[in-house]
Symmetry: C2
Subunit: 159 residues, 2 copies
DNA sequence: CCACGTTATGTTATTATATAACATTGGCAA
DNA sequence: TTGCCAATGTTATATAATAACATAACGTGG
């Protein structure tokens, strides 16, 4: 559990669940038990998790009978659609969004050693991308830039 | 065949094949018939193609017997490894690299209407990403930023 | 030329990821 | 309550990727 950086990860989880509840409430969305459980599992750590891992974890942790893939994917789709989690294409996986209320124009730094994915909001990158897009007359619809490399923690451990 | 922008696509293909031959030659790599054929098929258009589509196209176009997935993936791995094509994670697909000799720090604009993927080299974006990474003490290993949206051509067609 | 090590390709089977199509349930409001 | 709609369940299948091992092609020293 938790990421490479030592921190009180329970706070991440409770905060994520509280945010989700608030957002769903304010938007008239239903944060059902299944959605809540899967969101909590996605937040198990800062490592993106695949749909099938989540399926298995759900069966183990919640006592619930093994749900089938469509159920998990539908729930993940819901969470992605409303910005509570992000899909990580590089890993075919999902990770919790660290600022679900915001505009979601971020860079996701993915460590190829420890798989930790950290989301960084960078107006500079955002601006540069949009300038570049404008030059191509390209209209950006969805933006989650995935950058693969080595995180600070892993770089320190492996000198 | 070809992309949304009208252009002499045959030139794209011949140029890509010539570049590949030169690069392989200079690096002591073997551009075997299979590799050459698959590279040519990837360059069939500017739309990224999946491995299985390439398999089928290979069987149709080259008269060759249907090759199995591992063969295609190995060949694609070779082409990716040496920068002749790019893997497009957003689409689980592959697209030809438009400047295979370069440093490959680019933005790939993917049109969700016509699937055309156009690679743009932007020092500004590159710089912004690396500044952002440096702030996180994150060491970038691999960078191909995929941005999904609507290309100029499709925007013009659908007002 | 041959024998040999290396690289490339072939083959079979399996794993991993994702969706289609339809059935059932549960909340909620007329 | 009845009836709708959203959510979840179920079954089957599509799509993407790899493991493990077999054979073929290439080049190099003898
Ligand atoms: Zn945390
Ligand atoms: Zn790491
Ligand atoms: Zn072209
Ligand atoms: Zn387009």
């Amino acid at each position: 559990m938790s990421s490479s950086k030592h921190h009180d990860h329970k706070r991440c989880v409770t905060s994520a669940l509280e945010n989700a509840a608030a957002i769903c409430s304010s938007r008239g969305l239903r944060l059902t038990p299944l959605r809540r459980q899967i969101l909590e599992l996605v937040w198990h750590s800062h490592r993106p998790l695949g749909a099938y891992s989540l399926m298995e974890m759900l069966a183990e942790h919640s006592g619930r009978k093994l749900v089938a893939p469509p159920t998990v994917y539908r729930t993940l789709d819901f969470l992605v659609e409303h910005g509570l989690i992000h899909r990580v294409h590089t890993l075919n996986a999902f990770v919790g969004c660290s600022h679900p209320a915001g505009p979601h124009s971020d860079v996701l730094f993915i460590c190829r050693e420890c798989q930790t994915a950290s989301e960084v909001h960078s107006p500079q990158v955002y601006k540069a991308i949009h300038i570049c897009a404008a030059e191509q007359q390209f209209k950006v619809v969805q933006q989650m830039l995935e950058v693969v490399g080595i995180c600070a923690g892993c770089a320190a451990r492996k000198p």
